[in-house]
C-alpha cells in the first residue's frame, strides 16, 4: 500500500468535492444554517402562538345555565379568561368555530349536586382546532373550582369543617442530573440524526467518486495508472467516510449548540428541571456511532459502484436511506438492552447512544456494540473491495444488480467457487439475525414446530441458499463425502462420549460463575412439557435437526470459508466461538465453544461432514434423553426446583467413565485408520498432513 498514491487520489476527491456546491450544501449548509434558523423560526412562531392562545379569552356557550347559577357566576367572574356567549345555535357555532366550547348543564344540576346526588355536566369541544386546548384547560380549571365549591357546601350542610378537604401534599424529586435529563431528550433524536445525516453526507461524494467517474470515463483512466485498485478504494473510501463523519459530526455539534442556546427558555419550565450538555457524553456518542457511520459510508460507496448511472444510484438509494430510520423506531420502543440487541446493526448504536447520553453506559455493552458494528463495517468493506476489484467495474453493460444474476445457468462450464472468509461471516450474520428477529415471534409455537422452523429455515436454509446462489463447490464446501462406516462410528462415539464431560464442564463453570435461578428455570422448563408428552420423539427430532442443520451451516460454508485464509487452529477456535455465539446463551457459551471446536476438528480429521452430524445429533439426543429420564423420575416441577437450588459439582463417575471409554474408542478407530485412506479434506492443498498429528 503506497500512501503517497492514496493521498494523491484522496486530495483529488477533496478538491472536486469542495467545488461541488450540492455536496457542500449538505455537509455544511444544513448543520450550520438550517438548525439555528429552524430553531429560531419554530421557537418564535411557537412562543407567539402560545402567548396568543393564553391571552385570548375562550368563548363558551352554556346550555341550561339557569340550572347551575353558581357556575354561571363563576364563568362571569373577570380574570378567568372565559367569555359566556349567547349563541342561538351553540352546536352549529361550535362546528363553525364561532365558539370554543359548549357547556351542557342537566336539569336541577346544582340543586341535585348540593344534595349529594350524582350529576354530570357535559363539555363539548372541537379538538381538531388548536383553540380547543386553551378552552379545555380553562374550563377544567373552572369546573374544578365549581366542584370544590359544591363539596364545601355539602360539608357545611353537615357541619363538617372544610379543613377536611386539605389534601396530603407530596413532593417529587428528580435524581437525574441535568446531563441525564437532556440526554434522555437527545437519545430520541440524536442517533437517527447522526446516522441519517452521516449517510446523506456520504451519499453525493460517494456517487461522485464512483458512478460519475464511470459515466465520465475517468474511472478507466484512473485504473490504467500504476495506482493499485485497493489504493484507489482506500482513497475513495476514506474520502467518502470523511464526508459522512464530518456531516454527522457537524450536525451533532450544531444540534447540541442550538439546544444549549435554547436552554434558557426550556429551563424556565419548572416541570422539566435544569438541563445541561455533557461534552464527554457527546464525544462518546460520536465515537459510538463511528463504526455504523463507516458501515453506511461503505454502503453508499458500494451503491455507487454497483449502479450503472447516477439515476440508478438515486433509485437504489431511496430504500437504503430508510435504514437509519430504524434507529428512530428502536429509540421510541426503548427496549431493554440484551446481548442480541447489542449485536444488531443500527439498533446497537441507537441503544448504546441512549445509555451514553443518560449516563448509564458501561464498558461491556459499549464494547460489544462497538465491536459488532466494526464487524459489519468490515464485512461491507470486504464486499466493497470485491466489487472494486472486479474486472467488470468499467464494463458499461455490467449488471450486478440485475435479477438475472439469480437465474440459474445451463452452461456446461459454470465456474464454481469456494466461500471466502467474509462470505462465511456474512452467512453467520444472516443466520444470527434471522434467528434473533424471527424466533421471538414464534414463542407461542410448540417446541417441535419451533425447532423444525428454526433449524431448517434459519440455520440450514441460509447455508444452502448461499451455496446455491454463489455457486459454491458443493463437495468441498460441505465436505459432502462418504467417510466409511468406521468414521460414522467415530462420530457416534464422540457425540455420546462428550455428553457427560460437557455436563461436568458446565457444572464446574457454575462454581465459578453461578447462573441465575431464572436462567436455569427458563432454559430447562421449555423442554419439560414436550419431554413429558413425547420423551422419545423430542430427543430424536431435536438431535437429527440440530445435527444436520447446524453442521451444514457451521462446518459447511462457515468453516470452509474461514479455512480459505486462516490456519486450521484459528478456524477451529473461531468456528467454535461463532457456533457458541449463535446460541445467544451466555452461560452455555464456553461448553458449546468447546463442542464446536471438537466437531470442526472431526470434519477436518475425517474429511466428511457426516461424522460431525452424527456426533452433534448423538450429543443432543443423549442430553435430552437424560433430561427426559429425570422428568419421568422426578416430575417436572420437582426437577425444576432441584435444578434451580442445586449446588456443587456433579461428579457422575459412571457416566464419565463410559464417556471416556467411548472417546478412547473413537481415538483408537481414528488412529487405526492410515492416513492414505483418509478422503481428501476440504483443506485440499492447504493441509497435506493431519492437523492434529
Amino acid at each position: 500500500m503506497r500512501f503517497r498514491i492514496v493521498k494523491t487520489v484522496f486530495l483529488k476527491e477533496c478538491r472536486e468535492m469542495l467545488r461541488d456546491r450540492r455536496s457542500l450544501a449538505i455537509m455544511f449548509g444544513i448543520p450550520l444554517l438550517l438548525y439555528p434558523l429552524m430553531t429560531v423560526l419554530v421557537a418564535s412562531i411557537g412562543i407567539a402562538k402560545t402567548k396568543q392562545l393564553a391571552e385570548r379569552p375562550v368563548s363558551v356557550a352554556v346550555l341550561n345555565g339557569i340550572q347551575a347559577p353558581k357556575l354561571l357566576d363563576m364563568m362571569h367572574e373577570p380574570g378567568n379568561g372565559i367569555v359566556v356567549e349567547n349563541a342561538k345555535d351553540p352546536p352549529a357555532d361550535l362546528i363553525t368555530g364561532k365558539i370554543d366550547a359548549v357547556v351542557d348543564v342537566p336539569t336541577n344540576a346544582e340543586a341535585d349536586a348540593l344534595q349529594g346526588k350524582e350529576n354530570a355536566i357535559a363539555v363539548r369541544l372541537d379538538r381538531s382546532r388548536t383553540t380547543s386546548m386553551a378552552a379545555e384547560r380553562k374550563l377544567d380549571k373552572l369546573l374544578g373550582k365549581y366542584e370544590k365549591w359544591i363539596i364545601e357546601q355539602r360539608l357545611a350542610k353537615r357541619g363538617v369543617d372544610r379543613a377536611v378537604l386539605a389534601p396530603i401534599k407530596h413532593n417529587t424529586e428528580d435524581i437525574a442530573t441535568g446531563d441525564q435529563r437532556l440526554g434522555k431528550i437527545l437519545s430520541f433524536t440524536l442517533p437517527v440524526l447522526l446516522l441519517v445525516t452521516g449517510m446523506l453526507g456520504a451519499f453525493f461524494p460517494a456517487l461522485n467518486a464512483t458512478t460519475t467517474e464511470r459515466e465520465l470515463g475517468t474511472l478507466e483512466t484512473l485504473l490504467v495508472t500504476p495506482a493499485g485498485r485497493m489504493e484507489l478504494l482506500l482513497a475513495k473510501g476514506s474520502f467518502v467516510l470523511l464526508c459522512g463523519l464530518t456531516t454527522a459530526g457537524l450536525n451533532m455539534l450544531s444540534m447540541a449548540l442550538v439546544l444549549w442556546r435554547s436552554l434558557s427558555v426550556i429551563q424556565a419550565d419548572k416541570t422539566i428541571g435544569s438541563l445541561s450538555i455533557s461534552p464527554m457524553g457527546l464525544l462518546l456518542t460520536y465515537v459510538a456511532s463511528v463504526p455504523t457511520l463507516i458501515t453506511f459510508s461503505i454502503l453508499v460507496l458500494i451503491m455507487g459502484l454497483l449502479a450503472r448511472n447516477f439515476r440508478e444510484a438515486n433509485a437504489i438509494a431511496t430504500p437504503i436511506m430508510l435504514i437509519p430510520l430504524a434507529s428512530m423506531v428502536v429509540a421510541i420502543a426503548e427496549p431493554v438492552i440484551t446481548p442480541g440487541l447489542l449485536i444488531t446493526p443500527v439498533a446497537n448504536t441507537t441503544l448504546i447512544i441512549r445509555e451514553v447520553l443518560t449516563g448509564r453506559a458501561t464498558v461491556g455493552p459499549f464494547l460489544l456494540a462497538f465491536a459488532s458494528s466494526c464487524l459489519y463495517a468490515g464485512l461491507l468493506l470486504s464486499l466493497a473491495a470485491r466489487v472494486f476489484t472486479s474486472e467488470q467495474l468499467v464494463n458499461p453493460s455490467w449488471e450486478p444488480l440485475s435479477v438475472s444474476a439469480f437465474r440459474r445457468g445451463k452452461g456446461k462450464n459454470l465456474r464454481r467457487s469456494m466461500p471466502s472468509p467474509d462470505a462465511a461471516l456474512a452467512i453467520f450474520a444472516l443466520s444470527l439475525l434471522l434467528n434473533f428477529y424471527i424466533s421471538p415471534s414464534l414463542g407461542s409455537w410448540n417446541l417441535i414446530a419451533l425447532l423444525t422452523v428454526i433449524e431448517l429455515a434459519m440455520v440450514a436454509l441460509p447455508a444452502l441458499a448461499m451455496a446455491w446462489l454463489a455457486r459454491y463447490r458443493w463437495t468441498e464446501t460441505f465436505s459432502w463425502r462418504w467417510p466409511g462406516w468406521g468414521m460414522l462410528a467415530v462420530g457416534l462415539l464422540v457425540g455420546i462420549g462428550m455428553a457427560p464431560w460437557a455436563q461436568l464442564l458446565f457444572s464446574l463453570q457454575t462454581q465459578i460463575w453461578p447462573p441465575s435461578p431464572d436462567y436455569l428455570r427458563v432454559t430447562t422448563s421449555i423442554f419439560i412439557e414436550p419431554l413429558t408428552r413425547h420423551p422419545i420423539l423430542v430427543p430424536i427430532l431435536a438431535g437429527v435437526l440440530a445435527g444436520v442443520c447446524e453442521e451444514l451451516l457451521y462446518r459447511g460454508p462457515i468453516q470452509a470459508g474461514l479455512l480459505k485464509r486462516m490456519p486450521v487452529w484459528i478456524v477451529l477456535i473461531l468456528g467454535g466461538i461463532l457456533f457458541a455465539a449463535a446460541h445467544l446463551d451466555v452461560y452455555g457459551f464456553a461448553v458449546r465453544a468447546i463442542i464446536g471446536v471438537a466437531l470442526g476438528w472431526l470434519v477436518i480429521r475425517t474429511g466428511s461432514i457426516f461424522p460431525a452430524m452424527i456426533a452433534h445429533g448423538a450429543y443432543d439426543m443423549v442430553q435430552l434423553f437424560m433430561l427426559a429420564s429425570e422428568v419421568k423420575k422426578q416430575g417436572g416441577e420437582k426437577l425444576l426446583e432441584m435444578i434451580t437450588t442445586q449446588h456443587g459439582i456433579e461428579w457422575d463417575f459412571k457416566a464419565l467413565g463410559i464417556g471416556t471409554l467411548l472417546l478412547i474408542g473413537s481415538g483408537v478407530i481414528l488412529h487405526g485408520r492410515r492416513e492414505k485412506e483418509l478422503p481428501p479434506t476440504s483443506l485440499g492443498a492447504i493441509l497435506p498432513i493431519d492437523p492434529m498429528g
Binding site: 470515463g217 490504467v224 500504476p226 453493460s397
Partner: protein, 262 residues
C-alpha cells in the same frame, strides 16, 4: 514494444453462458510506429485494448508491453502506457493543469520534475492558454487535447488509444491525428483502435484487421491488399471479414455488440 500472442478473453454472463470477446489475437507493434486495430463494432477491439491496459485479465494467451508481462507485471505495464479512452475521461471540476498534475503524481513524478513535465506537456499540446480553466468549461476539442496531454504527461513509451476521434468533428479529428503522428515521430509506440477505414489508411504504419475476436490479417495497406487480391483498404477489409465467415449484419447484431461498447 507491444507483443500480443494468442490473446483471448471470455466473459461469463449472469446465466453462466460464456461469451468469447477475443478469441485469438496476435500482433506486434514497435517503437515509433502507429498500429491500428481496425474492425467493426463488436469485433473485440476495446476488449483487446483493455486487456493490454490491464483493466481486464486475459483468459488465455500472453502479451508483453514495453518489456513487461501482462500477467506477471501488470503494474509495470501500467507505468509504461498512456491510455486514451473513447470518452475524453477528464475530471469536470479540475483544471487541465490539475488534471496533468494528478496523473503525473500517480505515475510517481514529484516536485520540480513533476512541474517541469506538466508545463512542458501543456505547451506541447497548446493547452497553456486555458490550463487553469475548469475542464467542464472547455470545448470538445480542448478536452480531447487535455485528454491526450494527460495520457502522455509521464512520458510513456507506449500509447494506447481506444477510438480517440470517436464523435469528434473533422477539425478536431485532424488535430488529434496530427498529435498521434507527432507522438510516433517522437519514438512512441502507438496502438489505436478505429473503425474508420480512412483514418487507418491515413495515419497507421501497420493495420490489424480484427473480426469476431480474431486478428484476420495484418500489415501495411499494400500488404493487406496484396494478400486479399484487392486494390483498396476497404476492399481488403471486407474480403478478410467475409472470408472469416462474418457477415457485416451479423457483426453488428452479434451478442457481443450488445454487451461491449467497442
Amino acid at each position: 514494444m507491444i507483443r500480443v500472442d494468442h490473446l483471448s478473453k471470455v466473459f461469463e454472463d449472469p446465466s453462466g453462458e460464456q461469451i468469447v470477446a477475443v478469441a485469438d489475437a496476435s500482433f506486434s507493434c514497435s517503437a515509433g510506429k502507429i498500429y491500428g486495430l481496425l474492425g467493426p463494432n463488436g469485433a473485440g477491439k476495446t476488449t483487446t485494448l483493455r486487456c493490454l491496459a490491464t483493466v481486464l485479465t486475459p483468459t488465455g494467451g500472453s502479451a508483453e508491453v514495453a518489456g513487461h508481462d501482462l500477467i506477471k507485471d501488470p503494474e509495470g505495464v501500467r507505468r509504461s502506457i498512456g491510455f486514451v479512452s473513447a470518452s475524453t475521461g477528464i475530471y469536470q471540476r479540475l483544471t487541465p493543469r490539475e488534471t496533468l498534475k494528478l496523473f503525473a503524481a500517480l505515475h510517481g513524478l514529484e516536485g520540480d520534475e513533476l512541474d517541469a513535465r506538466v508545463e512542458g506537456t501543456l505547451k506541447l499540446f497548446d493547452v497553456v492558454s486555458y490550463a487553469d480553466r475548469p475542464n467542464d468549461r472547455l470545448s470538445t476539442g480542448m478536452k480531447q487535447r487535455v485528454s491526450l496531454a494527460r495520457a502522455v504527461v509521464h512520458d510513456p513509451p507506449v500509447i494506447i488509444m481506444d477510438e480517440p476521434t470517436s464523435g469528434l468533428d473533422p477539425i478536431v479529428t485532424a488535430t488529434v491525428e496530427e498529435a498521434v503522428k507527432s507522438l510516433a515521430a517522437a519514438g512512441k509506440c502507438v496502438l489505436l483502435s478505429t473503425h474508420m477505414l480512412s483514418q487507418a489508411e491515413e495515419i497507421c504504419d501497420s493495420i490489424g484487421i480484427i473480426g469476431a475476436g480474431r486478428v484476420l490479417g495484418e500489415g501495411t495497406k499494400e500488404q493487406l491488399c496484396e494478400r486479399t487480391g484487392t486494390t483498396t483498404l476497404r476492399q481488403a477489409f471486407f474480403a478478410l471479414v467475409r472470408g472469416a465467415g462474418i457477415e457485416t449484419s451479423q457483426a453488428l447484431t452479434s451478442p457481443l455488440s450488445q454487451r461491449e461498447t467497442d
